[in-house]
């Protein structure tokens, strides 16, 4: 009834994706903004932008925004490595109002200096946990931002050609498309783009709380890579689920880690395969990391049909039943789930990222044709192209 498998989309028009589910009794409206290449400084500014823009626009204050949404909640916005996602949940019949609010947010956010400073102070109070630090290896620590710089980044990112609107739930077909088109036909992005100098990452290289994280990050591949099914299955075999190689070796054989995952990490224009595990190991973490990598290699060499079938079964669980330990890390909370908001986001995101409509059944059928030898080769490639990245706990 509810799965990524059944999240069939109707592409209403370029830039608008609809997913009609009349039984939902609510509607999720989202703007998915694919990012251009950004400097580290621009990324830091963008993290401020997405929180500041939801405080006030030319037409909406926080109170007015809450009146648009179901239950009076504020729109939510987050930055991922290759996109920005803004979402709002509205009651049935509230889609037009939601689209109006999104239009206002992406084009006419107020970005007042006082609000920028408020966001900045709030960011300083947040202590990233070990997993966040492992995922976001090159984040800059927030520093004060002046409004002109904030506005430049806002204008660089929020451009008509970069935005996909995704609407899901109890909706009237074409309503969102009509409203979005009517409101944005005259929208022309600024011709020039800001140019910022190069900055060096200054994020702390040690995690709070004494937890070390170890990563093996394979070579990046492009969004439309024809070998995506093979690479995805290899990643699952390596690190997704309780019978994956990483779990069997890192947790069951050595008891070095409780949490270990494989991640298909989106980057601008492509994907990075990543294996990450958390450990209380301190100075001996590098040695353990190398041992683990060696043993993973050996494990891959010994893979048989049972391993391939386990990975395939797990992939089906992810796509059809929303098993949580999915490598599809597309939200700030982790893997994309199967609730209405995430499904709506996913169909819009996939279209924006790959240029084709999401078709889980097709992906599953391609996964079934991945041979054992191809699977082993792809897993070996992930391991051979990766270097351990370690963040020690303090």
């Amino acid at each position: 009834m509810i799965s990524l498998l059944l999240a069939l989309t109707i592409s209403a028009a370029p830039g608008v994706v609809e997913m009609n589910e009349p039984s939902a009794k609510e509607a999720s409206i989202q703007a998915i903004v694919m990012l251009p290449e950004l400097s580290l400084r621009e990324r830091m500014v963008l993290r401020n932008v997405v929180h500041t823009m939801t405080r006030q626009t030319e037409e909406y204050g926080r109170r007015e925004m809450s009146m648009v949404s179901l239950d009076g909640e504020q729109p939510q916005a987050e930055v991922m490595s290759d996109h920005v996602r803004i979402q709002i949940l509205v009651p049935p019949g509230g889609v037009k109002g939601g689209v109006r609010l999104l239009d206002s947010l992406v084009r006419r956010a107020s970005l007042f200096q006082e609000a920028i400073d408020t966001t900045f102070r709030a960011q300083l109070k947040q202590t990233p946990n070990y997993w966040h630090s492992a995922l976001w290896t090159d984040e800059l620590v927030p520093t004060p931002i002046l409004r002109p710089e904030e506005v430049k980044v806002y204008q660089k990112v929020f451009r008509p050609d970069a935005i996909t609107i995704a609407v899901g739930g109890e909706i009237v077909p074409d309503e969102a498309e009509d409203e979005w088109t009517r409101r944005t036909t005259d929208w022309k992005a600024p011709a020039t783009q800001p140019d910022f100098g190069k900055y060096t990452a200054s994020s702390p290289d040690r995690n709070e709380g004494g937890i070390s994280t170890v990563e093996l990050r394979g070579a990046t591949f492009v969004s439309g890579d024809v070998a995506i099914p093979t690479r995805l299955l290899a990643l699952i075999a390596l690190g997704s689920g309780k019978d994956s190689a990483l779990y069997r070796i890192g947790r069951e054989r050595h008891a070095w880690s409780y949490r270990q995952e494989s991640i298909l990490w989106p980057v601008v224009g492509g994907w990075s395969p990543r294996l990450i595990w958390a450990t209380t190991a301190g100075e001996d973490a590098p040695k353990r990391a190398e041992t683990l990598r060696t043993e993973l290699y050996e494990d891959v060499r010994s893979w048989n049909e049972a391993v391939r079938l386990r990975a395939l079964g797990f992939a089906e669980g992810i796509l059809s039943r929303g098993v949580e330990l999915s490598p599809l890390y597309l939200t700030g909370r982790g893997p994309v789930s199967v609730d209405l908001a995430d499904r709506t986001f996913f169909v819009g995101y996939w279209k924006a990222k790959t240029g084709i409509a999401w078709d889980a059944e097709k992906l599953l059928s391609r996964l079934r044709y991945v041979t054992l030898e191809d699977l082993k080769d792809a897993a070996s490639e992930i391991l051979s192209t990766s270097e351990p990245r370690i963040r020690l706990g303090r």
């Binding site: 947040q126 070990y130 019978d243 880690s257 949490r259 079964g313």
Partner: protein, 371 residues
């Protein structure tokens, strides 16, 4: 054995009609099956309650250790499940341990066989305990701030009756196979067991299969529970507040949940944690930003604005829990294993009858000192 089981099944008394069937077995265990035509996911959950074996400082963590050991099954359980596209989740709460098999609609028997395997704890050795204690040490180290704050709030509120479900690593490390065997024997009694099933299944077939795996457990007629005291109702932490609430089905719990959700929605990154419990419990709320956002929001909390929002959000909180087969089996089972009568919907009824003066008084109690 078969004749005993046939007799047991004949004595089952269905208390509700489709789409949901609840069955209380003669040994005090319970089965609930919810039929969801068209659902692509099937969730089968085993609940092991802890009446009679509640954590004490001396046993603190043994239930969690048993969860880890049991979830291994015969050793290759995860491989078999994952190959079939199924997955095993296990977690230990203060009031129950839960094992869930999430699978496809045709895999009901696989799920039941897996739970049966989990119920038969293998022979435990000192080496197994030692290794699992090491893994639990890794698990304990990665608990996040909100979890630790919640544990602190529970201990402040209920002392030894609010011990964390995670446990004490020293107790876990020093556990012996005999201690574990004894605890399992005390835990696995009829009234402490429930199985819930939610998905596209036949009610009778699922009820029969679920009954077969827990009907063997012995009766335990005199299981007693201490009452968590409700004095000093509000706990003030550095970054959170917590309010003691009576059992889930009590109207006051619904009012408090509505008030906490409404207040948290006004905070920057506000959060509320509440686990449905058929005895006195605790709602913890705060802001990921810390104390200043919490204090400001509490100071400015306006009952007129928050009343309708709180009621609506609490309703949605229930609806979100009952969103999919996994949520339905979890929510219904967690209440069922503690009390056969309490239902998730009781909170909705209490929200409907909640008056503005009741909400305002609840909010004032929560914000006490801040306004």
């Amino acid at each position: 054995m078969l004749s005993v089981l046939a007799c047991v099944l004949a004595l089952q008394v269905p208390l509700e009609q489709p789409p949901r069937l609840r069955t209380i077995l003669p040994n005090g265990s319970a089965v609930l099956v919810e039929r969801m035509p068209g659902a692509t996911t099937l969730s089968v959950q085993l609940f092991v309650g802890c009446r009679g074996v509640r954590d004490t400082p001396q046993t603190h963590g043994l239930r969690h250790l048993i969860e880890h050991l049991s979830a291994r099954g015969k050793g290759d359980l995860d491989h078999r499940l994952e190959t079939a596209g199924a997955f095993l989740y296990a977690k230990t709460l203060r009031d129950a341990t839960i094992y869930e098999i999430r699978c496809g609609p045709k895999d009901l028997k696989l799920a039941m066989d897996s739970l049966r395997e989990i119920l038969r704890l293998p022979e435990v050795t000192d080496d197994m305990v030692k290794k699992e204690a090491q893994i639990l040490g890794e698990e304990g180290a990665i608990r996040d701030r909100l979890t630790l704050e919640s544990e602190e709030a529970w201990t402040s509120a209920y002392a030894d009756q609010g011990l964390s479900p995670f446990g004490n690593l020293d107790v876990i490390k020093n556990a012996t196979p005999d201690m574990i065997k004894k605890l399992v024997r005390a835990e696995m009694v009829g009234p402490n067991l429930a199985v819930t099933v939610a998905g596209n299944v036949d009610l009778d077939e699922a009820t029969k299969l679920a009954s077969e795996i827990i009907a063997y457990a012995p009766l335990a007629p005199n299981l007693k529970d201490e009452v968590r005291p409700l004095d000093l109702p509000v706990v003030v932490g550095d970054n959170y507040r917590a309010v003691k609430v009576p059992r889930y089905s009590d109207a006051e719990t619904a009012w408090n949940l509505a008030a906490c959700l409404a207040v948290a929605s006004d905070m920057e990154d506000g959060y509320v944690t509440y686990t449905p419990v058929a005895r006195n419990g605790l709602i913890v709320f705060g802001s990921a930003e810390g104390r200043s956002s919490l204090d400001t929001t509490l100071k400015n909390a306006d009952p007129v604005t928050l009343f309708a929002r709180g009621r609506s959000m609490a309703r949605r909180w229930v609806a979100n829990q009952l969103f999919d087969p996994g949520g339905i089996a979890y929510f219904r089972g967690l209440l069922l294993v503690q009390d056969h009568v309490v239902k998730p919907e009781s909170l909705l009824e209490n929200l409907t009858t909640m008056t503005y003066p009741q909400f305002r008084a609840t909010l004032q109690r929560l914000t006490g000192g801040a306004q």
